[in-house]
Symmetry: C2
Subunit: 220 residues, 2 copies
């Protein structure tokens, strides 16, 4: 091909998890220019031979020790001025993972890596603030219409925990009875016949998701 084009392609991921009943996003502090010392989403350049999805997975695997993560492409941001170094188009991803399934490694271009509460993010590099906002909307949509909440929970969990997930992501409360009624009739989770054991109060039944595959189901 004789096309002249100077565009670089990166991936950036908005990794959501729940810590202490708050929704958090994974960020790293940049230790090189541009935006040195500012916080940014984990990401990196796509390699010539790998698919974009693979690049997103690889990048997260380089920066964290992670398993059972859900990853989906969000949107491609391609404003010519979004990177002061030159033309960089970024394919943004949204990722969802249970806190217990991710550990932070050292990160190539940054010193510090941290989960930040979404409602108290620091100032972000590039257009990453827009990307996080976009990702949050998608996360809410996915919780509303699919069984994806399982990626924010351990395999077996009490119903109360599931409700907490919804309340945290949507930042509002749901009625206990209506919530349980709705979930039950959807048939997306099933009883494990196990119980919580250690509490100083009535132990809850444990449930598990019927299908690990992400399916369209109207939850709320």
């Amino acid at each position: 091909m004789t096309i002249k084009q100077s565009i670089l392609v990166t991936v950036d991921s908005v990794v959501f998890t729940i810590i202490q009943n708050k929704l958090h996003v994974l960020l790293g502090k940049r230790d090189i220019a541009p935006f040195k010392d500012m916080w940014a989403l984990p990401g990196g350049f796509v390699k010539d031979q790998e698919s974009i999805d693979d690049a997103a997975y690889r990048d997260l695997a380089e920066e964290t020790a992670v398993k059972d993560i859900y990853l989906e492409q969000l949107y491609t941001f391609g404003n010519p001025k979004r990177d002061p170094r030159g033309r960089v188009v970024t394919v943004a991803y949204m990722a969802i993972v249970a806190r217990e399934n991710i550990a932070i490694k050292a990160w190539a271009y940054t010193k510090e890596v941290w989960f930040y509460p979404v409602d108290k993010l620091p100032k972000l590099a590039f257009d990453h603030k827009d990307i996080v906002y976009y990702a949050l909307k998608r996360l809410q949509w996915k919780l509303e219409y699919t069984n994806i909440a399982q990626y924010l929970l351990p395999k077996e969990f009490p119903l109360t925990e599931l409700q907490h997930v919804y309340q945290i992501v949507f930042a509002k409360k749901f009625d206990v009875r209506n919530f349980r009624k709705k979930i039950a009739q959807l048939g997306i989770i099933k009883d494990t016949w196990k119980m919580q054991k250690w509490q100083a109060y009535r132990p809850a039944k444990l449930y598990t998701f019927v299908s690990k595959k992400v399916e369209i189901v109207e939850v709320l």
Copy 2:
């Protein structure tokens, strides 16, 4: 930057319109390799200085004479083997336009340009079949949840026409009374107090959309 990367970025658009009560997609026959003589979506390379959205608009404007078109980014396809010439990532767009607002020009890399019915597409180049499928899903979703149908209709139209649009896109019939009831209570269209004139039967009232802005509204 010292990054070595050999990835080219293109845009491809799935342009929908309705012709003779059928949903059609704009295609062009390629007159250069690869996939010479096969049909493909209109598209082209993104220029270094323009945003991706701009590239999609420009490309359509080069290939057609068009006004009042709706364009939205769909998904980015980046399988390393999707283009036999080398690594090409394409940002796919979905476009919606009323037949009267688009005319076909000569097309740079192809001889023939044509609208094809979505249910009778020829074999397509690259992964364009996947892209059309994805775009169709998005089109249906948008009709279901927004007032976007206006882009498939003239400014003033009878309610029957609006219903036809829905029936064509979803390939199923809706009850006349329920459909009109639903649309009326949504308040997305208003009476123009004009009437059709030329028919050999009872003339219909003409309506128009209240807001040109695409808004989230549960239509179906």
